[in-house]
Symmetry: D2
Subunit: 493 residues, 4 copies
Amino acid sequence: MDHRQPVYSGLLVIHPAFTPATARSAAPPADKSQSKRLKRLSLCAFVSFVFFVRSAEGASALNVVSSFRRSSAKRNHVSGCRLNKSTRAEDWLPPWSTIPTMHRSGRHFLQIPGPTNTPDRVLRAMAQPTIDHRSAEFAALGRSVLAGLQRIFQTSQPVVMYPASGTGAWEASLVNTLSPGDRVLAFDIGEFSRGWAEVARRLGLDVDLVEGDWRHGVDPDTVEARLREDRGHRIRAVLVVHNETSTGVTSRVPEIRQAIDRAGHPALLLVDAVSSLGSIDLRHDEWRIDVTLSGSQKGLMLPPGLGFNAISDKALAASRSARLPRSYFSWELMLGPNATGFFPYTPATNLLFGLREALAMLDEEGLAHVFARHHRLAAAARAAVTGWGLEIACAREDEYSPVLTAVMMPPGHDADRFRAVVLERFNMSLGAGLGRFKGRVFRIGHLGDFNDLMLAGTLCGVEMGLALAGVPVSRGGVQAALTSLSSVAPIVQ
Amino acid sequence: MDHRQPVYSGLLVIHPAFTPATARSAAPPADKSQSKRLKRLSLCAFVSFVFFVRSAEGASALNVVSSFRRSSAKRNHVSGCRLNKSTRAEDWLPPWSTIPTMHRSGRHFLQIPGPTNTPDRVLRAMAQPTIDHRSAEFAALGRSVLAGLQRIFQTSQPVVMYPASGTGAWEASLVNTLSPGDRVLAFDIGEFSRGWAEVARRLGLDVDLVEGDWRHGVDPDTVEARLREDRGHRIRAVLVVHNETSTGVTSRVPEIRQAIDRAGHPALLLVDAVSSLGSIDLRHDEWRIDVTLSGSQKGLMLPPGLGFNAISDKALAASRSARLPRSYFSWELMLGPNATGFFPYTPATNLLFGLREALAMLDEEGLAHVFARHHRLAAAARAAVTGWGLEIACAREDEYSPVLTAVMMPPGHDADRFRAVVLERFNMSLGAGLGRFKGRVFRIGHLGDFNDLMLAGTLCGVEMGLALAGVPVSRGGVQAALTSLSSVAPIVQ
Amino acid sequence: MDHRQPVYSGLLVIHPAFTPATARSAAPPADKSQSKRLKRLSLCAFVSFVFFVRSAEGASALNVVSSFRRSSAKRNHVSGCRLNKSTRAEDWLPPWSTIPTMHRSGRHFLQIPGPTNTPDRVLRAMAQPTIDHRSAEFAALGRSVLAGLQRIFQTSQPVVMYPASGTGAWEASLVNTLSPGDRVLAFDIGEFSRGWAEVARRLGLDVDLVEGDWRHGVDPDTVEARLREDRGHRIRAVLVVHNETSTGVTSRVPEIRQAIDRAGHPALLLVDAVSSLGSIDLRHDEWRIDVTLSGSQKGLMLPPGLGFNAISDKALAASRSARLPRSYFSWELMLGPNATGFFPYTPATNLLFGLREALAMLDEEGLAHVFARHHRLAAAARAAVTGWGLEIACAREDEYSPVLTAVMMPPGHDADRFRAVVLERFNMSLGAGLGRFKGRVFRIGHLGDFNDLMLAGTLCGVEMGLALAGVPVSRGGVQAALTSLSSVAPIVQ
Amino acid sequence: MDHRQPVYSGLLVIHPAFTPATARSAAPPADKSQSKRLKRLSLCAFVSFVFFVRSAEGASALNVVSSFRRSSAKRNHVSGCRLNKSTRAEDWLPPWSTIPTMHRSGRHFLQIPGPTNTPDRVLRAMAQPTIDHRSAEFAALGRSVLAGLQRIFQTSQPVVMYPASGTGAWEASLVNTLSPGDRVLAFDIGEFSRGWAEVARRLGLDVDLVEGDWRHGVDPDTVEARLREDRGHRIRAVLVVHNETSTGVTSRVPEIRQAIDRAGHPALLLVDAVSSLGSIDLRHDEWRIDVTLSGSQKGLMLPPGLGFNAISDKALAASRSARLPRSYFSWELMLGPNATGFFPYTPATNLLFGLREALAMLDEEGLAHVFARHHRLAAAARAAVTGWGLEIACAREDEYSPVLTAVMMPPGHDADRFRAVVLERFNMSLGAGLGRFKGRVFRIGHLGDFNDLMLAGTLCGVEMGLALAGVPVSRGGVQAALTSLSSVAPIVQ
């Protein structure tokens, strides 16, 4: 495929006036005068384009133009997709432009492990006019979603929410429970586990980071050992990521809970459920987690923008003596108004509209069925990976993630190049390898509002993309996945 | 997991109050008092449900309940989806209810051959507030879409549009050009070809209907022969369906045009392009069609509700002497106001918003690319059918439809049962066999806003569904389709 | 502030590239290099603009530019809005452009008497993905809206619906009940009454059109007299427009019914309820109307695109012998599939989504309350008109329309000029005088999804607009309306 | 009409099944069997309702029912709207219910001073499917909105944004620039000025809070005096709220800047522009502000959920030595990825879609015009207040807020009771008096996407509401506002 090719199709995007030329090729203009006008129009558009590019974007855009010219002769002889990143309209149109980007037919397959495919039902709910955040109507909304979140966290204890990303929920879990210099036990089992530990460090905590190979979850035995060693109980909190989104590995939280209990250690158990909540069974109360934190853009099927903390009594008690400075993320300020459905500051009202709808959808399907569905789909995805002869990043069967599958690339093949092929050719976004997995791993997200045929389409795209990218795989992956999907009924697991 | 659960989840659809019970199974309530409350709630909900069903819908709904129970024992032994038509909430909730139906995760695959998957970009465009249909803003909209339609019909002659279905566009093509008792030549090559002839009959025309086997398009030689026989030129119009949606057969319109010319016959050539416009190359001017009619819900990617007529000079001249009564569909009344972007009566403004957006999308992709895309996808779909060892309804290669593939079921297998399995199990709608093809054919729509991975998902669903329905097929269909999709680059035709 | 600025802002509409220049005036660029770049950008934008205009639209657009310049001097001395029709972007941008028009702040006041302000709740409902029109899910939708329409028409008899405008519903009412040459009694009481009669004439009926002064409704005594004269019962139908949208006059349908009964005449009573249904009490069964026809874009709060016929047994019987050719509008073909919630051809699915929502909204408010609301608002509107010292077009109190108020302009003042002032200055669309009222009347729509403050804003706009247009009125109109609105509680009539 | 009816219509909200009863009153059922069925339906619905209420919500809901009954006798004697807070469906329906609330006809007037009326164009933009936040498409979006924000802040320096409320933006401005124990100078000129100071205190800063009467802005002379006194330069930052949303008072930031300069003091100038940005002229660069912070839900016309910081070089330098712990709000972590359009953590993608659209709208209108429009509307609002004989909270003409007007209630009248009347009767939300103004002040928001007729409707609602609430005012307010609006042309100020 000629890599310079796409540039031409860039020009067509640049100025609406170029479209007639394309249309013309399909339907020759009826008379000559129209043809002349089109030519003049094209010329003027080109002139304006050149001026425009020179002033607005400078040399780099001009380079595009010249490379475009160079490639134009060749173009007529090659096949291939025209649209690539470097020629997207947004990249050089003035920033205030709302000209829609060139249409790529059909739906984009957003198969990164979050943000997930937001159901249009949720998008429509979010498009309701914003309401007075101090009205009775709002209070009903507030109470409704707070109660709904309790069902999803499987807790009868308070859940607070912030206009924030999951990163904000990380910070909230720490600043409310800890004091400067407190020691926390964390585990380097993936990019997000590292990230949370890094936030702790930035906030002035003393982080004890246990190394890992990124192919296993948090080891309960290690937890027990570390806590037993800590005779002085300097460790105030254990940080566990339930589903490590960068590796597709879930940690066995109930066993970790038991390990802490066995060690008889008073440390708080903080769990990141950003990519597990609403997709993988997570029982805040039963598992006696102290803070379960999450975000809106994964299993809750919402756009990003909300962060959550479910809070145990023990965590709440800890917050009373915790001395890290906090205001925006303060539980105390939040819990008062929450009791009547209100918030201490203007909440992200339209995301709450979406949240109400998403909670209704989860209730309609039933949480147990949601979890079972993700297990079915994940099993099929893994069957495909095995069918291709590729290796799953996660090393233990009992730690396989039901929401994403991270796949090791064969040595000598770049995962990001493969992902670029899939995006260009099949309009599908796959997750990149992060941190130490960069280029070595790609991730297939199969969480959120997702079903058998969406997964089937996804896996077909991966299989074709691997072949097109020259990755040596056997072609039986899709077939194995279909066998897996057909053999297990959707609901009865 | 309790296998009886799903039955319960059927009831859950009936009354929202049952949801907590399901939630409970996933997350046992923390304390007893809540559990009691849930029980009481369930009881009351059931009571209200029984009363409700008895009064609101009478015996039939109750029957559903009992049949539901009867089947529950059986269900535990079979795999399969619990949600079926008879338990859909809408079927017994009061008609004014807007309670959303139970959520089925992921996107529905709407793979009937129209209405097609309306892009959300078009849906959002349609959600703009309605404007004054006599304002300058509206005039700009009107002119814009009328001009855009000319590009799509590949014509410089007028295109009129009605708030109507394609059936209305049929009627418009006839009442404007013909007089009571006029003879028209039509072809029974499929359900819609018959339907148009039937409309002609109802309007008082004398229809000469040529028999067909539904596996071929209109035969140009037959056209020539029939017209040559008609020495008195009693035949006033030839009716040809460009793409017969019930069979997946396209008629070779340019050859038919030549056949008419060879016969030296003055009959008008009327072409139904309902399912071809915007998906298959159709050149109103170059092919000298007199009326090309179409609708909004296929290649134009809109919801149903608009019907179109593209009109040649000859047709316009015929309309001046045509004596079938007409008012709503009168071209004459329409063309005057259209010249300035207006309409003789209130137009379907919001569908026009959508049409403007859809036309923009077609322009962005380029008509030639749109046609090429459909050819690629259709070739892959046919590769799958052949791979399964099934027969394509269309008998001639040069008449294969690029927008849908109709598939013959092996004898002894009911296409509708298979389709029901696919709908229940995979949330995908396939097209039924119509008329003489009822039960014998199913149709895969692959038109409109559609791409490689959507097709791949669709074909995976068909392959799995065939197996689950016990239809004896080889499993190589999907693999063949993937090979086909990978071997041809997206854009070059 | 520089008075020449607005001129610039006119240009700003022409090409997005001009925006930075405006921004600059508000915020001088921080450094010189940026300033230079802006100048270059402006220059290039202007060049491209000139070229663009010359090629794309030719002389007319250039004329706009020069007239624009000529007027700029004058403009500096007058107050007034800069945005007028001739400088709207849509008028010269290529027709396929979807560049949004220049933003006018705040909501447009759409106060024509239909299409009405579609509630965003309905717009969102319409934005749902189109579904299979042969599915069980669709059948539930179909049954739901057909049943809901019966409640709104206050009938237990069938209501059919078409993808059509109200004009289509006119045609449907005639072609189903009458035969070529049948005589119908119609009344020239306004533009739409004339229009319906004109449709009847075009369809080959013999129309007996009774003259009127457009300030009164249909006179029951005249109906009785005409029918008594018709001893041979040649008149087959009486055509009455319930609420004449062009004049703001309602006809007293129950009295007309009685007049027909008194005359002992068997003619069918056909009633146009296009602008009354769902806003004014209309009882299809109790008033023994034979066909009540309507459309979606008025009291039903939907965009245009659906036409309705409610059908009495007598009308249904008549349809069996009626010989006007019909197919698209045939009741017979419609009633069969309707029984199970389906349609004989592809229905306008997304408008049905909207209809379901609109019916739910009417049910929530309660029809009686909806009617009472319109009475309250209409009384306030009339109080305003009287307060301004203007004359209401409708001459009889018992024929005042609750959904619109048509106002006579004082002699020497052009209603359309006044409307243009209101549109430019206050972003409000008012209804024009039609037919013989052209220029002499303007119409205030107060129907559909409308409330006290929307009416108050509307009347304020009219009062200010009258003054700005130099129409001599007293200023007490708004005050009188507020008094009226305050004195009557919203719900108790 | 029966006066007891409305009570019924209250019940109607409780359970959809009650609707038919209301419908019946408008349209008696055709036959007896239907009537019986309706009765049975009503009974069962009531039974289910009582059970339901008892189990689901317990005593409190039952109390509502009885108080509802008790009040029903009284209600028959008063006029007024039946829908009040205690009978809203959301208050007792199960929290997972998505049953829409009872329809109140027409648009809600959201005239609090933020969140503002989000234009439907922005809502539709937000309803686009979420995209991959690491894609080129996202980068283009990110760069586009970051550049657009610079235009709105009138700065060439970086603007960062957070998924956060304005409160988060407060925190960001402090934690990035200051160290524990640092002294800041703040002014108690309103609830939000106090709030920001309170956040500073919670974060461990030493707040020097200057008292104020809440009817004046920050006094530049006081600033100068305080800074001059601070010879040791212990004060590290001056905190000024540009437009105090609780009082309708703007502070004269340029004069404050000069005061700081005159004092020769190095303190940072931090400005809260939450309710001024995009509505009132605010020049981050020209006025040499060090941090200008804002939020999305006011002049930017978005739902809440985004917080902004515009950052001067001096502030950036300060951030390098500032020692308050920070991670989520860290500028440093943000600025790196921002350079290429990305964010250090998942951004609130769909709000960014809305932001892009809102920025386009502001660009289309032109910032200068936006500011002028707010000045015009505010002048008219004040004319109304004066016309009613009421007092504006803001004491100085040169500090009048262009975005809201806070009005002092006459002694003995409760502002909140008045607001409740307006909400119930006219479906309009007005702003409450906050803090020391509670009950004594109401606030009229006239910011964001707002125009003349929306303001006119708003003021009519206030005038009628004052009368209905028994507040002694003269009735000339609306008239004065109309005169004001008519006398000044929209664009040329």
